[in-house]
């Protein structure tokens, strides 16, 4: 019996499986971070999103795609009550965050926003603050004073945002002196520092160059083992790379929500297929 003599080449080292998280079909029984029921939001009389019902599973990446004006950013901002800042808005329906309705009359938006953080499209580190101050501002203004705690949290957040090595040499330089991609990672570190449970990201990489974008995407994949991430993106390929589940919005309504592989290989709704194949925009 002749032994097979083909051996694996050592040309490329295989990545250690423990570090990466291969996206799988998420188990249907995975706990939901958000249960949204018939959520609508009105600017004056006009409905920006209408009757949206969706369960967002925890500790995964959910992408929201759709053409311009379809309500994806609006929906995202509903999840941490950012619409409270806009006058003349009205919300109907409910959004349960681990069981409690964030739109209940007695719920405090400030506390909600500590648990549900947000990263914006245009990176916005506070201009009067250094890198360290930026990261710690959320903690300091919420009463955390102890030096030891602050220092530890500073390093931890910057490491998790894959920025520590690049800034550890001078943590007191102005936040605005970093490059675009670094600024966005600084904003992510700032959001992580208050230890939220959810990270909402509104087109976080759309203002970045391709390599910086890839670094942010890699960061998102690493973070999703600890955080529930909901990301709005107008770049469908990004949704494919980064997310486990994808929701397609059109004209304020949720059209389809499924595992990313299924949405991009065989969507159920014709509108979804037309959009992702570029038959309309």
């Amino acid at each position: 019996m002749i032994e097979p003599s083909i051996t694996l080449p050592t040309m490329i080292e295989p990545a250690s499986p423990a570090q990466t998280r291969t996206p799988q079909q998420p188990a249907e029984s995975a706990r939901a971070a958000f249960n949204v029921r018939s959520l609508s939001i009105f600017y004056g009389e006009k409905a920006a999103i209408r009757d949206v019902t969706i369960d967002i599973p925890e500790k995964t990446v959910t992408a929201i795609i759709g053409p311009s004006g379809c309500g994806k950013s609006t929906f995202l901002r509903c999840l941490n009550r950012m619409h409270d800042l806009v006058p003349n808005t009205r919300v109907e329906g409910e959004a349960l965050f681990y069981g409690s309705n964030i739109y209940a009359p007695d719920s405090d938006p400030t506390i909600i926003r500590r648990k549900i953080g947000m990263v914006f499209q245009k990176s916005n580190p506070f201009p009067t603050m250094s890198v360290a101050d930026n990261v710690l501002v959320g903690l300091r203004l919420n009463g955390v004073r102890k030096r030891a705690v602050l220092n530890q949290r500073l390093e931890k957040s910057l490491r998790m945002a894959a920025l520590w090595d690049e800034v550890k040499g001078d943590l007191h330089k102005p936040g605005m002196s970093l490059s675009g991609g670094q600024q966005q990672r600084l904003c992510i570190a700032r959001a992580i520092a208050v230890e939220p449970e959810v990270l909402l990201m509104d087109e976080p990489a759309s203002a970045l160059d391709p390599i910086a974008t890839m670094k942010v995407e890699e960061l998102i994949r690493e973070l999703c083992t600890d955080y529930t991430i909901v990301i709005v993106t107008h770049n469908m390929q990004q949704a494919g790379r980064v997310s486990d589940r994808t929701a397609f919005f059109y004209m304020g309504k949720l059209i389809e929500f499924d595992a990313t592989e299924r949405i991009f290989s065989n969507p159920k709704e014709k509108k979804t297929e037309d959009y992702i194949t570029g038959r309309f925009g």
Partner: protein, 283 residues
């Protein structure tokens, strides 16, 4: 044919730039004349005495305006106590809170008040305070100036705060930082230079006001040690001396005017220095 038109264009262009230059000179000329005249007339009287001595009794030669200079400082300080907090907080309200209609009304009122002749402020404070307490006082003068400062500071603060991009407010709120902390620690901190600039400009504006002080602070030939009594102020002193028949007092009035103009000039220079290199222009 073409060359002809070209030459015509060149002539018209040269004519236009000449006219523009002349116009600019016409604007600068009065300013230059004022400075020159003040300098020439007043510089001779600027001496150590001027800054250290009290005015001499009527008719005597010599003396200084030290009490007026210090008095002006005191009045500005009192005005600031009233004008700055109310003005800044009012600006914060306009920029961050309030509803659209109320704010439009407030802005309109502030703009009107900014245009009100300054003597009216003096008359109002006269009626409210001076008559009530039956005496002119430093407090009344400070109040008059302070009330003048309020709409000014309010509007500049509001404008500067509105220039802070909304992204910073959103980022701060998204971190779970409360609204008022966001305003104080993020928005106002970002706009701090602009706010200070606005305050300094208000100072510069009221430092030279004479009319409101006429029947509130009233002026004083001596030191004032009680805020409830009349106090000397530089513009007042200049006025009193200038309309007097005494040659010596006229001389001192020029000196006082020079000092006043230099003071205002210095404040504006400081403002320019603080806002150097910024693309955002305040006021």
């Amino acid at each position: 044919m073409k060359a002809h038109r070209h030459t015509r264009r060149k002539i018209i262009s040269a004519l236009a730039s000449t006219l523009a230059t002349v116009a600019a000179l016409l604007v600068i000329a009065p300013l230059g004349l004022v400075f020159y005249h003040l300098l020439v007339s007043g510089i001779g009287s600027i001496n150590w005495d001027f800054f250290t001595h009290l005015p001499k009794p009527v008719g005597e030669v010599g003396g200084g305006m030290v009490n007026a200079i210090v008095g002006s400082g005191e009045l500005l300080a009192l005005a600031a106590l009233i004008g700055v907090p109310v003005g800044v907080l009012g600006g914060v309200y306009l920029a961050e809170y309030g509803d659209v209609r109320m704010n439009a009304l407030l802005r309109f009122v502030a703009d009107v008040l900014n245009g009100v002749p300054s003597i009216i402020w003096g008359v109002v404070v006269y009626g409210l305070i001076v008559l009530r307490f039956k005496s002119f006082s430093a407090l009344a003068g400070g109040l008059a100036l302070g009330l003048m400062m309020i709409p000014l500071i309010m509007r500049t603060t509001e404008e500067v705060l509105l220039l802070v991009p909304n992204g910073y407010r959103e980022a701060s709120l998204a971190l779970g930082i409360s609204r008022w902390k966001t305003i104080v620690h993020v928005v106002m901190k970002t706009a701090s230079q602009g706010i200070i600039t606005g305050i300094l400009l208000a100072f510069a504006r009221v430092a030279g006001e004479t009319a409101p002080l006429l029947f509130t602070a009233f002026g004083n030939r001596f030191w004032n040690h009680n805020l409830l009594e009349p106090i000397a102020a530089l513009p007042l002193q200049i006025f009193t001396y200038a309309i007097s028949p005494y040659e010596d007092w006229h001389r001192q009035a020029w000196a006082g005017a020079l000092v006043l103009v230099v003071m205002i000039f210095l404040i504006n220079t400081v403002v320019r220095f603080l806002t150097r290199g910024r693309t955002v222009r305040v006021l």
